[in-house]
């Protein structure tokens, strides 16, 4: 392949070359000029599945390849800093690539996909009730929530929990990720940001919004939904107005979306607790303060005492609890059933980790972690089948000798070899005894 010729003959050779390369697990190209390296990357990028390519190098001759690939990694080497300057990520040694890809890359993808999906979800939940309200207020653009709530929802009440999730979340232990590269396949091909998952989140958001709005609607419509008023004066039943209606929906909303994140978080540090419960407490305290004082800078005093009135009503509390539970129910059920019927490799590892209570390390044999499931003949995100027999009986010991990752086929062959050896030893002992 000469860099200057772009006529049809070398184009034909490119096709054949690409076909051959796709059938190999590793291809070695020697004595390549920098431009040729970039051309190889371009060739792979343009192939049928349009894969995401990663190029790693340490010298100045790797720069064009690093720039061409989707992800370019430079190694701070003896050949200078050219590669590092042109790369997306720089590492000091080649061996760091493993942790960077398998651990950090995996974590970042999980975090960012959850961030994106959750953001759309919580805003769908936020705005859809407001949209539904227009059908009942003469399409006059009357807001359902007070201005303060509209402004602060995305800034103060629901921003910190997801921010922290996207910085700290670890759905699986680092060591297991390093040990089992096949887990990376669970997120291959942008699996968590594809249309089906996005549709699921959106439909969940719409469902939650409908539950929240119509739950409150049927409580308020043509009934005498009132407070009990026993804290202030006796024997009064004070009627609720439209801001109380909106505040009820908003309270259910904030608690629902925060609890959704609670259900999705797998790694609870003290900061998680602080941020999540703190956001909810902040919402309550803010509402009490906002409605507790006649603020002089406000033109309208429409929120005065609304939140407290709402909280002084028994039915309001009952409906808040009911609506939060009804909103979260389908997601919990879906999670549990999917985890039982069609677990991903990730989820199996999480189960195994829980079983062994964190004693899994980089050196535990692979086969012990992949217990097959009877129902799931297909595993999402990964391709091949594994028919390892119940491994718990065989593999609870750490394999101290092997410090390399072996493929499962190798592991199985190893097992068979060792069993044959043991059987032969037993036979020999028996024959010796006779």
């Amino acid at each position: 392949m000469r860099p200057t010729q772009e006529d049809s003959i070398s184009g034909n050779y490119k096709e054949i070359f690409l076909e051959i390369c796709r059938n190999c697990s590793a291809v070695l190209c020697c004595r390549m000029a920098p431009l040729q390296k970039a051309q190889i990357v371009k060739l792979i990028k343009a192939s049928k599945e349009h894969p995401i390519t990663l190029a790693i190098g340490d010298g100045a001759n790797d720069v064009s390849m690093i720039l061409e690939a989707h992800v370019g990694i430079g190694i701070m080497g003896k050949e200078g800093r050219q590669a590092v300057r042109n790369s997306d990520y720089a590492i000091p040694k080649f061996k760091h690539l493993k942790k960077m890809l398998l651990v950090h890359g995996h974590y970042y993808y999980i975090r960012i996909s959850e961030l994106v999906q959750y953001f759309f979800y919580k805003n769908v939940c936020f705005i859809f009730p407001q949209f539904l309200y227009q059908f009942f207020c003469g399409f006059s653009q009357q807001p359902l929530y007070d201005t303060a709530y509209l402004t602060l929802y995305n800034i103060s009440f629901t921003s910190l929990p997801i921010l922290l999730y996207s910085l700290i979340e670890q759905h699986i232990n680092m060591d297991i990720l390093k040990k089992d590269p096949s887990l990376y396949r669970d997120i291959a091909k942008n699996s968590l940001l594809r249309w089906p998952i996005f549709l699921y989140w959106t439909i969940l958001g719409v469902y939650d919004a409908i539950v929240m709005f119509f739950g409150a609607y049927f409580l308020f419509d043509n009934t005498t939904f009132t407070s009990n008023g026993q804290l202030m004066t006796t024997n009064t039943q004070m009627m609720f107005g439209n801001w109380t209606f909106g505040t009820l929906v908003f309270t259910v909303l904030v608690f629902t979306v925060t609890f959704k994140l609670v259900l999705d978080t797998h790694y609870w540090t003290w900061i998680n607790h602080f941020v999540i419960w703190g956001s909810l407490i902040f919402f309550v305290v803010f509402s009490l303060l906002w409605g507790g004082i006649i603020w002089p800078f406000l033109n309208y005093q429409r929120m005065y005492y609304v939140f407290m009135q709402m909280l002084s009503s028994g039915p309001a509390w009952l409906s808040i609890i009911l609506l939060i539970t009804a909103s979260l129910l389908p997601d919990v059920v879906k999670k549990v059933i999917w985890r039982a019927l069609w677990p991903t490799t990730t989820e199996r590892i999480q189960n195994a980790d829980k079983l062994y209570k964190g004693q899994l390390s980089e050196f535990t044999p692979l086969a012990s972690l992949h217990a097959p499931s009877k129902a799931g003949s297909h595993r999402r995100g990964s391709g091949n089948e594994r028919n390892v027999p119940n491994p718990r009986r065989l593999w609870l010991k750490r394999d101290k000798r092997s410090r390399t990752i072996r493929s499962p086929k190798e592991e199985r062959d190893n097992e068979v070899r060792m069993m044959k050896k043991a059987a032969a030893a037993v036979m020999m002992r028996r024959m010796a005894l006779k």
Binding site: Q141, Y267, L329, V336, A340, K374, A375
Partner: protein, 334 residues
Amino acid sequence: MGKEEQELANRPDNTAFTQQRLPAWQPMLSAGIVIPGFVLIGLAFIGIGVALFITSRSIQVLEFDYTGVEQNSPCFNCTGQKVLNCVCNLDFSIDRPFTGTVFFYYGLSNYFQNFRKYSVSKDDSQLYGDITYFKSPSVTCSPYDYDSNNQPIVPCGSIANSMFNDTFKLNNINGSKVDLVPLDGKGIAWWTDYNIKYRNPSITPLKNAFNNTVKPIFWSKPAYELDTTDPANNGFINQDFLVWMRRAALPNFRKLYRRIDKGLPIGNYSLAISYNYPVLSFNGRKKVVFSNVSWMGGKNEFLGIAYLVIGSMCVFMSIVMLIVYAKFKFPEED
């Protein structure tokens, strides 16, 4: 030596936070937690739902539409144009006595108090008793801020202007005896509205504060004469006025009119209605509602039914999950 120091200076922090090694709790949504949890929640919800449903069933409600649309309705004569000061009588009887405090509501249908332009049309500073805003009402009140002679309207705005002005008297008919049932109008509005949010101007007599202003166009009496019998119920802190000013959330709503403290025994009743409020032009409806209340408020079957439905769904889901787990998970474990 310097180069080493420089390298060490560039080294990232090795704290638990920056190296993501913070101690953490790693919970998992496993069957052992979820299934019992669902069963508990389901049973609790069913219990609450049953209690709510039974309570709601025991609440009595009487509702009468008195708009007068049909020919045979008692208030049909009042629906004509140019009929002033019409009084119609609504007769009804009660078979089961209402025990405890009975709440007397008026209800409106197809009435959008939550319409945006309507709901911003008031001046909170005027209603707080600030005299300066008596002379220059806020521009949000327009077109109900100045009348045709350019006099400021107090209280301004369409919410105040459209205040409900039907009045009711309830008579208990005992053979030939006609007893007036006492209606209590104290404390029907929010305590905070009455005491803090709405204040009369601090000029006595109250009438003088309203010099050089006019009453709202639709009103028959000015604000300082809303209740001449009780000065604590006059001006902006009139209880009926406050109840009206708290805008309803939905187009079909009820507002509290009076309380009947001693309940309503069995018998025949006649409700004398001063029919003043026109609703037919926008296909609205007017009704009166008698209801007693319980710890959960008025009659509302939705809450009880919703709790029962969600509770049974929880129990059902837990059974489904148990089946799924039993079939697909348990045989594999030792």
